[in-house]
């Protein structure tokens, strides 16, 4: 505690609460409000330089900094894990610049900043999920011109999105896009759910939590408000499907979750474990056992 208090004093001497100055936060909040008002629409904002490189979550960090208050409890995950470099450094960043309480327990967090996963534990009303987004424009693959993609969004010209899926089927026999799988939000805007695995796409649909997306380098913020309809694009004869795993998690035995492959030695040994570390640990504490521990 004394350490935290000492940190707080240092914060007040050096930085504004949550690093960004209040005018910047207001600017970002305006973009967030507009994003919420027009679900799935990419709102341009004056992204700031952050004390970390682009690609490390500068967009998500700015969104979190703009909405976080002293009473919030923050969780940061990177590919589902609370204990990887990106998650730890961002969590420490907010510990130092805000002094808010942090947690690894999904259910206890009021704000969850995430890089590429939606937690397995269902989210509750009042929670905010902040995504770090590298490329917010789902049409970019087929249309490099920003002026053109904006017009296409404005006129709902989304035929090319299916060209991408067609190309997948022609090449692989099925829709091989496994992450950043395009969705249509509230029947209007086609949106990139950030590089989350498509396994998480169904969780976005009518989610009780507020989902905010920040792309720092590309200077875009967009939002999916609670209970919004989110539909993954597909073909009538090739409907949307999520990944299926042959075996359950090797540590906790969970079967209905997204798994990471972990190489265990240099002789081809491997195991599949939950990508959501909090979910896995909770299950193990509850006595669930996977084959690795049995």
């Amino acid at each position: 505690m004394t350490h935290l208090d000492a940190g707080r004093e240092e914060v007040i001497a050096t930085y504004n609460f949550a690093y960004l100055d209040e005018q910047t936060k207001r600017m970002i909040r305006r973009a967030i409000l507009k994003g919420i008002a027009v679900p799935g629409y990419q709102v341009p904002f004056a992204s700031r330089e952050m004390p970390m490189p682009y690609g490390w979550g500068t967009g998500g960090v700015q969104v979190t900094a703009a909405i976080i208050g002293p009473d919030d409890r923050l969780k940061v995950i990177d590919q589902g894990a609370d204990d990887t470099t990106n998650a730890i450094s961002i969590r420490k960043f907010f510990e130092r610049t805000t002094g808010v309480e942090t947690t690894t327990v999904t259910a206890q967090a009021s704000i969850i900043q995430t890089r590429h996963r939606i937690p397995e534990t269902p989210l509750a009303p009042g929670q905010v999920l902040v995504f770090q987004v590298p490329i917010p424009e789902p049409l970019r693959f087929l249309e490099p011109r920003e002026t053109e993609t904006r017009t296409m969004h404005a006129l709902e010209e989304y035929g090319v999105m299916h060209v991408k899926l067609y190309e997948d089927i022609a090449r692989h026999g099925h829709i091989a896009t496994t992450y950043a799988y395009p969705v249509k939000v509230e029947g209007r805007y086609v949106t990139d759910p950030s590089p989350t695995p498509k396994f998480d796409n169904p969780k976005m649909h009518r989610n009780p939590a507020l989902q905010l997306f920040g792309a720092g380098r590309e200077m875009r913020i967009y939002a999916i408000p609670p209970w919004t309809e989110v539909v993954s694009l597909d073909f009538e004869d090739h409907p949307f499907e999520v990944q299926a795993f042959e075996r359950p998690c090797a540590l906790c035995g969970a079967a209905d979750v997204f798994l990471d492959e972990v190489i265990t030695d240099d002789r081809g040994g491997r195991m599949f474990v939950c990508s959501d570390t909090d979910h896995c640990n909770t299950r193990q504490d509850q006595g669930h056992v996977g084959e690795q521990q049995g």
Binding site: Y166, E167, D237
Partner: protein
């Protein structure tokens, strides 16, 4: 041209002008285009052919004049009064545009099948099997082998790319196709086959077309009527055979006599 007496024109252009600042792109161009008719626009480089084509295809906002087009429901619509959404919808359903350089009209980073299928998906088709079937059928009609459906246009020859571009444009059954030097950059034997194919398609589908070309042979083979342009203005217009066999304007006489004889 007896049908002209009965059918109302498909497109009516009147007093069309386009200025690039102080410079003239094209000036005071008027013509009617009838259903099933192919109109050739010929003239030397810089005579305003492409400017005219871009204006009448609504890709370029003209400075003055009117362009009206008979929509599928039969009413004449002023193109300048269309909203951008309507204009773009018209472009990808009822119109086609064949560029001189196929790379401008194709998506080079997706397969031939996806290139042909794009317009179908753009108008709302969502059944992969049927889209692919239609694409396959169209590749056959433009003489591209069925085994090339999953290849990217980058692996195609120039003539194949041009044929692919034509298939991509015709898949939604357009009524009017704009062509900008469709045979430019192709060698003569490939040109001949492409022209043959185009002539067949235009006949079979009852297409109307406006073809911009500097090649009088293309005009002779494809078009029923032609306009000769010079310095942004139309200097002679008439039935293609009449203009080529009995040119009236001095410039047209020069143009016709400039054709190399082999």
């Amino acid at each position: 041209m007896t049908m002209q007496d009965n059918d109302p024109p498909l497109m009516r252009v009147s007093k069309l002008s386009h200025m690039y600042g102080d410079r003239i792109g094209c000036r005071d161009v008027s013509f009617d285009l009838y259903p099933g008719e192919v109109l050739a626009v010929v003239g030397e480089s810089g005579s305003g052919k492409t400017t005219l084509l871009n204006c009448v295809s609504a890709r370029l906002q003209s400075s003055a004049g009117t362009i009206s087009y008979r929509m599928r429901d039969g009413r004449m619509q002023d193109l300048n009064a269309l909203s951008e959404a309507e204009r773009r919808f018209l472009m990808r359903t009822d119109w086609g545009f064949v560029h001189q350089n196929p790379a401008d009209g194709l998506r080079m980073n997706v397969s031939a099948g996806a290139n042909v299928g794009e317009r179908l998906m753009a108008v709302g088709q969502r059944h992969y099997g049927r889209i692919r079937e239609t694409a396959d059928d169209w590749l056959g009609r433009v003489e591209i082998g069925h085994d090339r459906i999953d290849d990217r246009p980058g692996t195609f020859s120039g003539g194949m790319r041009q044929r692919l571009q034509i298939a991509r444009n015709l898949v939604t059954g357009p009524r009017l196709v704009f062509m900008d030097e469709p045979t430019g950059g192709l060698d003569v034997s490939v040109q001949a086959r492409l022209l043959d194919l185009l002539r067949g398609l235009v006949d079979d589908l009852g297409l109307s077309a406006i073809v911009v070309t500097h090649d009088l042979a293309v005009a002779r083979l494809l078009s029923q009527r032609m306009m000769v342009m010079k310095d942004g203005q139309v200097i002679e217009t008439g039935l293609t055979d009449r203009v080529l066999d009995d040119p009236q304007a001095p410039y047209t006489q020069l143009l016709v006599s400039s054709i190399l004889q082999v």
